[in-house]
Amino acid sequence: MKSFLKTFRFSRKGWLFVLLLIVGIILLPLFSILIRAFDSDASTWELISEFYLSKYIWNSIGLVLGVSGMTILMAVVPAWLIANYNFFGRKFFRLALLLPIAFPTYIMAYTYTGIFDSTGTIQQLANILLGNDFANAIYFDFMTPFWLLLILSFCLYPYIYSACLVSFSNDSAQHLEASKILGANSISRFFKIGIPMAKPALFAGLFLVIMEVLNEYGAVQYFNFKTFTSGIFVAWENGDLTSAVRIATFLFATAIFFLFITQILIRKSKIEKTGKTPIVLEQLKKHHNVFAFLFCGLLFLFAFLIPFMQLLFWAIATYKEVVTFDFYLVTWNTFIISMVTAIIITLISFILLFAGNQLRNIGGKQLASLGILGYSIPGAIIAVGIIMPFAFIDNSLQTDWLLGSIFGLTIAYLIRFMAVSYNTLDGALKKQGSRLDEAALNLNTKPIVALFKIHFPVLRPALFIAIILVFVDVMKELPITLILRPMNYETLATEAYRYAQTNESAMQAAPASILLILLGTVPVILLHKLIKN
């Protein structure tokens, strides 16, 4: 037995088994959905398919397209300005424009509603300063799809901004200089050189934005905008799991469609970059300087500063009432589950990556990359997809280990966020190259020994970054937590969402929201450091 285990542990078969096990767990909700979707027990499906399904489809696609367009507009211009020009506040904006990514969308949504609704900050200020008539005159209905689109764009544009900023900064100065000498003015350089060369990064960022929009639940629910995720929740809350699964199948098809489109766009726009002359920042003068400052300043103001200050104001007003023992307990719960999950996910993705590398000559890398598919699967699909196998296992073993347990919740997070840590580690491993492996083999070191003696210490900074990134994602996660959490188990995200759901207590969501945002800035600072380097 001992010798079997030894052989098994170090053999290729052993790595293959590990690889298949991890990938199998990741793909579990998908298989489960495909099987359950054909179940005939769907009490509300007729109603959904007749009255709601087309709305879910068109609203979801409309939201994806709208947010995609808006985020590109918001992200590309400041990224271009910051990468190529020197203007007042440039260094500050380089980091500051990343900060809105720390804002969960549902928090941004209820904060802005609190600013603009009939009893909100704007109305109150207008009433006090300029009278009731003026306040009535400037009132408008905030709860419309346009404002939802804008709010989602505020939170999601940093995905494209960061990708484009890296791409623009890595361009060779010579291409821009060559275009200048060939007569291209600054606008034509942006459209003819900057944008085409940044397309792969732009589409990669756009892909993340699209996946986040499809995964979106809190803000759309708050605006009562009917998308796939809100449909899944309604069906699930009505106890009709099969209908929830069927909507999830449509959502998955839409996600795959957009995944396919963006991957084609990325592949088609890929270019072989040549030369690397560092970009020399051009000093903007007079009105150009003012324009750059205003563009970046207004974006930062609306996408971060105003909602953050409003939340801070609310938090100061309500903290005595909200920050009780229960609040500390929720914060502790959130910290523990996020940290433990982040460490587990990072270690498993490290093993997945290593197993994939060991088996690369028989397609191990490709198999391992299936393990990161979870990031393309919206949280609501993972949640409803995992309920059935969990229930089956629990029923078979007569236990309640999985469904409605912390363990089950952790597995769902693993499926969803494996890609975050896997990609971080993979990037670091690629930088390190295959020389270390080859050197270790040359010195008669076995792969398992190389894993712990070489890769683990070398990848320690990347492991640390991966843990932080997953930690923050888990902490902010909403749909999976709402569906799979144990009874009476709250996290900061569900607490903020619960308060925000009722207008009367929206202000009380502020302390949890502020905490989430502040913790969310940690990966932003890490990201900024990476971009700077």
Binding site: Q174, E177, K180, I181, L182, A184, T274
Partner: protein
């Protein structure tokens, strides 16, 4: 006169990149700017095309001021072509679109580009992407792109530095033909004497940001302004305070006797090192001379320098 540079000075912080540079060039002329790394030659090129501004002095083209204390004409408005050291071809555009980049839509772009492609022997490669081209082809695309805007002045920045030796001679002669055919005035920046002598009508020698000498290669070779300039054009020996070229050291005649210290075969001749009164001299000789051989020598012609 196509280009006039008057007292051009450029500083980067405390470092003086160019100091009081004055020269001019005639229409259709090719000038090579020769100097080692850090001599200021690339800075001069960047100033001419408008990628850097001068601190003092004046630069004009066809009597139109490009840059002085009051004026700075942006690079996109100068109509000067530049071929970058590594070509800087736009990686997202194919050969045709790279060449057509600067050609106005009002002009007949297709005919213009096609004719340039024919001149630069690129016909048939229109749809290739830059990374699908050889080094020589990339160079020709960069040249065609620069010529497509019909520039008043063409600048080449170390044009052959990325090519291997066998390709370099071929491309150099092709590019020289293209430049002469187009009739464009041209400045070539290089640190290779061979590139300068083979391509240029005149050579300007820069050192530490100063223009030391500008003239034809023959005149500079025969009458170098300084020891530095003389050494750029080949081995210079110094014996008892007298400078002379290796070719002017005649072996087998004269009163003085030197000892052979080294002799090896290179490029069809024997590179020979001699020692006389503890001073070392180098020359080339048609036959092998064994080490320690004593041989008579004389010096045919001395060099004298106007600049120390």
């Amino acid at each position: 006169m196509i280009l006039e540079a008057r007292n051009i000075t450029k500083r980067f912080g405390q470092i003086i990149a160019l100091s009081n540079l004055t020269f001019d060039m005639q229409k259709g002329e090719t000038i090579a700017i020769l100097g080692e790394s850090g001599s200021g030659k690339t800075t001069l090129l960047r100033i001419i095309c408008g990628l850097e501004e001068i601190d003092t002095g004046e630069l004009s083209i066809n009597h139109k001021v490009l840059n002085n204390n009051n004026t700075f004409l942006r690079p996109e408005n100068r109509n000067i072509g530049l071929v970058f050291q590594d070509n800087a071809l736009f990686p997202h555009l194919n050969v045709f679109n790279n060449i057509a980049f600067g050609v106005s839509r009002k002009m007949n772009r297709f005919e213009k580009v096609s004719s340039l492609m024919a001149i630069t022997k690129l016909t048939g490669l229109e749809k290739r992407m830059p990374h699908e081209l050889s080094g020589g082809q990339q160079q020709r695309v960069a040249l065609a792109r620069a010529l497509a805007t019909e520039p008043e002045l063409l600048l080449l920045d170390e044009p052959f530095s990325t090519l291997d030796h066998s390709l370099k001679n071929e491309i150099r002669s092709e590019i020289k033909d293209i430049i002469k055919t187009s009739g464009v005035s041209c400045i070539i920046v290089t640190h290779h004497i061979d590139d300068a002598t083979s391509m240029a009508d005149r050579i300007a020698i820069l050192k530490d940001g100063k223009l030391i000498q500008i003239n034809t290669s023959k005149i500079i070779f025969d009458n170098p302004a300084s020891e530095y300039v003389a050494k750029l054009f080949g081995t210079v020996n110094q014996l008892d305070g007298v400078f002379f070229r290796a070719k002017d050291l005649i072996l087998g005649e004269g009163n003085r006797v030197a000892a052979v210290r080294e002799s090896y075969f290179e490029n069809g001749l024997f590179q020979t090192t001699l020692e006389y009164n503890n001073q070392v001299m180098r020359c080339v000789h048609s036959t092998f001379l064994p080490i320690e051989t004593k041989i008579h020598f004389s010096i045919k012609k001395n060099l004298s320098f106007s600049v120390k």
